[in-house]
Symmetry: C2
Subunit: 472 residues, 2 copies
């Protein structure tokens, strides 16, 4: 390890609590990007990041996105040229400052935007966005701050993009990348911290991500809510009809019934299957961790749980609504009913094709006298990253040195659509160094980030920056 | 017509506006019985009725219902012995002071609990409960008031029950009737105003009502909301599973797929079929009135629209909920998903049997690793009333005299469960004299009651009271 890195690690250690205090400040800002009510909060979170970066000597600015009719949330753009003598890779760091909605609020033990540090058990910080992705972004920003505070400079050439729309489909990011392609193609490699460790003791590099297609379908029937006594049995009930249609979306053997859905799926390789098997996953234990019995081990027939999570596509309804949803009874036939549906996709599926396929399938099943309102909430390409590039080697070495533990190569069932866009639009590979744990309750009430994991991420980034500075 | 009745009709005419003002006062009270938030408002509405009755010389009191663990809304009980010389029938008048929830609020043109009188077009009063059932109850209470104010007395023997739980399944009413059976079995006939006219020009007596079974089913899966990327495809998603199960509830030809559901259904008789056909219903026009095209004329195969509404059972989902129901996208697998389901039933179906049948059917389809939470939100017997009793003859004559129009005998797709209970528990037939119109938006935003209909009801009750006083 370079001497400078060792000193920077010490510096980070001594200012660890101050860094957590700054993370708390960022977590207090309710930057829920999908909900227009939190529009100003999203901008405030972006501005907060600019100010944090400037304290490390990195100049940044907000770049607006979207159109005047449909304005997006701003991108935090920052750049530092590094030392004149720098010969290492020009790093593009990507993260997101927006968070998922906090509902259902009543299931949180502490308010989602009042970060709470719990010292009992594994010390951890509980808040919406603690690990996804504010905490993971802050590991990198605090690594930069430690380098700056210890050495007076940033030792690498660096561009930073912090997005504000990751949790609502990154609808404007591809256009942003296209608009800035001349600047961004000067980068050599992307670095993203939005994935997980294998477990608390084992750091990981993620090399396969699922893609995503997210849609919403509203079925409209009568032009008003109707009394189910007066009208029941004589007109189409959008709730009945929606249920009948979507009930057909799930085929036998846990497969999606959309025609051609599996045509472009790359089969799980023998090598992956063997490697993942060697991880020794206890499926029953996994289920128990979310309160499910062994018989809940369902899904596409013929694949292990980890294969279903990392390498097989899915179809999930993420929301259903319509009619009376309060307590008690109301005898209503509503004028509409809706469903939110997402597909997790794997190489080489095309999200746009899947979305079209769903819409065509729904249209072909339009109940008599009804009409569909179909919405595309965004998509992301599935992605598989090369595991033997020089950058990947640096990343694995940094993980090992910073944590003292051998990292493993894993897949991830989630989607980071921008990774596909970086590859497609900028020709860049992405290093996915993440420090979340499976039980971090990402997207759920009581989301947490363990301080031990945060510390490993902070140390890994400090070491990786040092290695890049020493390279070339 | 008796001279007294003519004078009372004149009296009612001259105080018509004052009576509407009193209805406005009652409609201002948001007595939504299904929502615990409006508990006090329900009691206030009940108390208001007591005071109105006392101004007509009728003493009443609130009778509590339910248990200390699950208190119900009070019943308004009132009694007047009538003149000592009275030989007519002892009338049991039943109505309800509770109303449906007002949501979706944003679709109301005026606030649901700020009654608005509109003079353009057909003069009408717009408010939640305008016609169901506060307006229809007030036609009778104001008829009593007119008799009292004109003659100084109430000329018939009368018991009044105003329920506060009709819109949430009348869960405590049967027990109430059983507890007061000794008093109530002194009555000779029930009188209920909670049904409709055939159309604006044609008053009607309703002689067939559908029954109801209302249930709720919540499917529980994981003990927490999950990230659909991390877990999608490897665990049961309650939204997917709920949709799969309920999609099977609807069989071919628009029929309910519950085993044995049609076993006890009394087939539509040739006479009914002919009589209803002679009403000359324009089904396409009916559909157009709720914004539906002719191809929306769906339902159980082999039956006309009116037969499907009045004489065939149905199965309707009245509410679906689960996962993310806000704007935009959230990639969640929720820990539960729920559906509210109701069945409209016809003679001789047994609501309790249908509820059991649904629960058994659901249990037999429990998705692996999940569990059902099943709730019975109440039920009501289907009911067919004799059309040639002396009371029915009086009712038809009163309608004719008070409105100058020949009434027709009709069925009704809705349910007034208490009519079944009056028959079963007290042995009483019920006269259903209602003045609602099909487009009154019962249970919907902008519920209204036309003042012309209200006036016909008021006059009919005045004449009917006079005829009963003159009878025997």
């Amino acid at each position: 390890m370079a001497d400078a890195s060792a000193a920077v690690l010490n510096r980070a250690q001594s200012s660890f609590d101050a860094g957590i205090g700054r993370l708390v400040d960022l977590l207090r800002i309710p930057s829920v990007s999908t909900d227009p009510e939190y529009r100003d909060a999203c901008r405030a979170a972006a501005q907060w990041c600019i100010e944090h970066l400037s304290e490390s000597g990195i100049s940044g600015e907000l770049h607006e996105t979207g159109t005047s009719d449909a304005p997006g949330h701003p991108v935090v753009y920052a750049h530092h040229p590094g030392p004149a003598s720098y010969h290492g890779p020009h790093v593009l760091f990507y993260g997101h400052y927006d968070v998922q909605p906090a509902d259902p609020l009543e299931l949180w033990d502490s308010p989602p935007f009042e970060p709470t540090i719990i010292r009992e058990g594994e010390p951890r910080i509980v808040a919406r966005g603690a690990v996804d992705d504010k905490g993971q972004v802050m590991m990198f920003l605090e690594a930069l701050r430690a380098w700056h505070d210890e050495t007076g400079d940033i030792p690498i050439r660096l561009t930073i993009l912090l997005e504000g729309e990751e949790e609502c489909g990154s609808v404007n990011l591809d256009q942003y990348l296209k608009d800035h392609v001349d600047t961004l193609r000067a980068c050599d490699v992307c670095l993203v911290s939005d994935t997980g460790m294998w477990n608390r003791e084992t750091p990981a590099v993620t090399y396969a991500l699922r893609g995503l297609s997210y849609c919403e379908a509203i079925l409209h029937g009568p032009d008003q809510d109707l009394h189910s006594g007066m009208w029941g049995g004589s007109v189409p009930n959008p709730l009945n009809e929606l249920t009948k249609v979507f009930g057909q979306l799930f085929g036998p053997d846990g497969r999606c019934a959309l025609p051609g859905f599996y045509d472009d799926v790359r089969e799980v390789g023998e090598q992956e299957r063997t490697q993942w098997k060697s991880l020794g996953i206890d499926e029953t234990k996994q289920l128990a961790s979310i309160g499910l019995p062994p018989e809940a081990n369902v899904g596409e027939a013929g694949y292990s749980m980890i294969e279903r999570q990392w390498a097989r596509p899915t179809c999930d309804i993420n929301g259903l609504y319509g009619g009376y949803m309060g307590k008690g009874a109301k005898t209503v036939i509503p004028s509409f009913a809706g469903a939110k549906i997402s597909f997790r996709l794997v190489a080489d599926q095309d999200p746009a094709k899947v979305t079209r396929s769903l819409f065509d399938w729904l249209k072909a099943r339009t109940p008599p006298g009804c009409r569909w309102e179909l919405m595309d909430h965004g998509s992301g390409l599935p992605c598989t990253v090369s595991t033997d590039s020089p950058h990947m080697v640096l990343a694995k070495e940094s993980l090992h040195e910073a944590t003292g533990k051998e990292p493993v190569l894993i897949g991830c069932g989630g989607s980071i659509p921008v990774v596909g866009s970086f590859k497609t639009l900028l020709g860049l590979d992405t290093l996915l160094l993440g420090f979340a744990l499976d039980d971090d309750r990402v997207h759920s009430p009581n989301e947490k980030f363990e301080l031990g994991c945060y510390e490993m991420g902070l140390r890994t980034h400090i070491v990786l920056i040092g290695k890049m500075a020493a390279a070339g």
